[in-house]
Amino acid sequence: MEDEKLYEITAYTENQVGLLSSIAGIFTRRSMNIEKLLVYPSRIEGIHKFKILTRSSEKLIQAVVLQIEKKVDVVKAFYEVDDERSCREFDFVSNFLKEREEINK
């Protein structure tokens, strides 16, 4: 795959039953893995926030974010390359696991 990176999608949504599976379905359709998913009330009264971490190309992530935003109950959706801090954490943990596996050999 061309230039895959970890992206973090942020979506601000109405608090609507079924929206989680509806958004997850967009990833299922394209056989994309969700690496992390958080859903919680945002600081805006009555609006929820989705944080979705996924590995993707830039072209694909653009299409996915637009399809998320197309949902009637989604207010806005954005994406960014996963921030350096979580990349560091990610690298730290994956390196840690590799080391553990070495020890286990």
């Binding site: 039953v17 079924g18 359709r29 299409a63 637009l66 197309k70 009637v72 109950d73 989604v74 207010v75």
Partner: protein, 574 residues
């Protein structure tokens, strides 16, 4: 009007849909929707209920109705199998942007999630294939949910909306106040195109030597037919139509170069590859239109006008995306562009047309002898109708030939299952179209395979007195798959030959007049007889078995790699 009264949930649903202008319900009763049907009995002066023979018929009929009417079709079914039977139509309406509101009964709220009799997770099933799906949980939410459903279904890029309606909510009571919805904070129905972007587009158009417009159903959905013609006139710009864009521009418009895509006309496909600016209006670059994306219009700059942000750049990279309603964008663009004269470019189609006419159209429509060709039948019916009929198709060769050889004088005259390609769509959709526009002749082109997928709706047609003219292009094959097997699978005709009933006897069983035509001389008189009144009619035409629909861009090929016949490719400039 029961405004302000404490009435049942079933009453609220019916009062609310009437307040929103619904007068026709396509449906089928069943256990979980009986409370609404009980109330419907008292509303027969204000609501016409069309009792279909299978729920799939209800939703396709509602699609046909919505497509001629330009407002949402309304469908009502029961839970479980009633609901699952409309799923194909929901998916079809979603991909073809057809406004529908589907209300399905549901088990009582306290049984939800218990695998109760006729319970299915209808919201879960339909959320990927509907514009919005919602379970109504309290009687006091019904009017709000219904108003919201119609607003979502009919605005922006239209689509199907699903309401799941548990039986206890139908039986519950609430004070009824009619609701109107014209705003949802999370949903921008019609984005406003910016002046800057429009000025950039106008400059790109003014500086283009060979601009080409590709337009789709978005023009019809937006009501932008006249605005598109004015735009083409002022810029002197040639145009090609997608399958679902057909009839937006009259067939005789000199700017119109025909249909795009796999079985489209040669000229618009070649012009796509020769233009220096491609202007897409209300279309979504389906793979049947673009062929190989890697080579599609790579020489051209691309402007894409659409109301749906997720379509812009989805398949074809664009130089300029214009987010907005086609009518508004075209009106403003026409004001901004300079008038052009692009005679030489516009006439580039002549060579393409001459080849297509001599190699494909003439042999199909005016064969010297032999069995009837399906395209010949379409052309004869089209001529007899003078372009004024609503043409409905099923899916397959009948659909492509109907699209190629029909003529149109006005909009909303071509109804077909484009994106999903649903066989069995034709007959119920034609019934819905006739009910939605009873003053017009409705001609259905259908194959023997597709007719048998939903032939039970002959009963609906007769019961409702819907005078659909069914033109059965009968070759005893699943013709399109047979064609692919011939061209791409070494003539291995795996399960595509059909042993059919006598369709005349079938029609007679329903009390429908019919004529069976086997030779050229009896075709025109049979068509004249079919069109002589407004009653249902079945014209069973025995056509040549081994038909190819040509020209054809083989799957995965570039749009300028066009088959004229078995192993004969179109060569530009010859």
């Amino acid at each position: 009007m029961k405004e302000g009264q404490n009435i049942s949930g079933a009453d609220i649903l019916l009062e609310q849909i009437i307040s929103l202008g619904v007068d026709t319900v396509f449906g089928y009763p069943g256990g979980a929707i009986i409370p609404v049907y009980d109330k419907l009995y008292d509303y027969s002066d204000r609501l016409r209920h069309i009792l279909v023979r299978h729920e799939q018929g209800a939703i396709h009929a509602a699609q046909g109705y919505a497509r001629v009417q330009g407002r949402p079709g309304f469908v009502m079914v029961t839970s479980g199998p009633g609901a699952t039977n409309v799923i194909t139509g929901i998916a079809d309406a979603m991909i073809d942007s057809t406004p529908l509101v589907v209300v399905a009964g549901q088990v009582k709220s306290d049984l939800l999630g218990t695998d109760a009799f006729q319970e299915t997770d209808f919201i879960g099933m339909t959320s990927p294939i509907s514009k919005w799906s919602y379970q109504i949980r309290r009687p006091e939410d019904i009017a709000w949910a219904v108003a919201r459903a119609f607003y979502i279904a009919s605005t922006g890029r239209p689509g199907p909306v699903v309401l799941d309606f548990p039986q206890d909510v139908q039986r519950g009571f609430a004070e009824y106040h009619p609701q109107v919805c014209n705003f949802i904070r999370s949903y921008v129905a019609v984005p406003e195109p910016s002046d800057t972007v429009l000025r950039m587009a106008a400059e790109m158009i003014d500086t283009a030597a060979r601009p080409f417009v590709v337009f789709g159903q978005g023009v019809i959905l937006s009501g932008a037919e006249k605005e598109l013609e004015a735009f083409l006139d002022k810029g002197d710009i040639p145009a090609g139509s997608t399958l679902l864009g057909l009839s937006a521009v009259p067939s005789a418009n000199p700017h119109l170069k025909g249909m795009l895509g796999m079985h489209g006309n040669i000229a618009p496909n070649i012009m796509t590859q020769n233009c220096d600016l491609l202007i897409a209006v209300g279309m979504r670059f389906d793979d049947r239109v673009t062929g190989n994306l890697e080579t599609y219009a790579r020489q051209a700059r691309v402007i894409h006008i659409d109301i749906d942000a997720s379509e812009i750049g989805k398949n074809v990279p664009v130089d300029l995306g214009i987010l907005g309603d086609a009518k508004e964008v075209l009106t403003r663009l026409t004001g901004l562009i300079q008038g052009g004269v692009r005679r030489a470019w516009k006439d580039e189609d002549v060579k393409c047309y001459e080849v297509e006419n001599s190699r494909v159209i003439e042999p199909e429509v005016h064969p010297a002898e032999g069995l009837l060709n399906p395209g010949e039948v379409v052309a004869a019916v089209a001529e007899a109708c003078g372009g004024k009929a609503v043409i409905v198709t099923d899916v397959g060769q009948n659909q492509m030939l109907a699209a190629r050889y029909s003529k149109f004088v006005g909009s909303r005259s071509f109804i077909s299952s484009g994106g999903l390609g649903t066989m069995g769509f034709g007959l119920p959709a034609a019934i819905g179209a006739k009910i939605g526009d009873p003053g017009r002749t409705v001609c259905l082109f259908v194959g023997d395979g597709g007719l048998q997928m939903t032939e039970q709706e002959l009963g609906t047609m007769v019961q409702e007195g819907a005078g659909v003219k069914i033109v059965l292009l009968n070759n005893n094959w699943l013709g399109n798959v047979r064609m692919w097997q011939e061209l791409f699978f070494n003539r291995r005709y795996s399960f595509t030959k059909m042993v059919n009933p006598d369709f005349g006897t079938l029609a007679a069983a329903y009390g429908v007049d019919s004529a069976t035509v086997e030779d050229r001389d009896s075709l025109a008189p049979a068509i004249a007889r079919m069109l002589s009144d407004d009653k249902p009619f079945l014209l069973n035409v025995h056509v040549r078995e081994e038909t190819l629909v040509l020209p054809m861009i083989p799957p995965g090929k570039s749009v300028d790699e066009i088959l004229l016949d078995r192993n004969v490719f179109f060569e530009y400039g010859r």
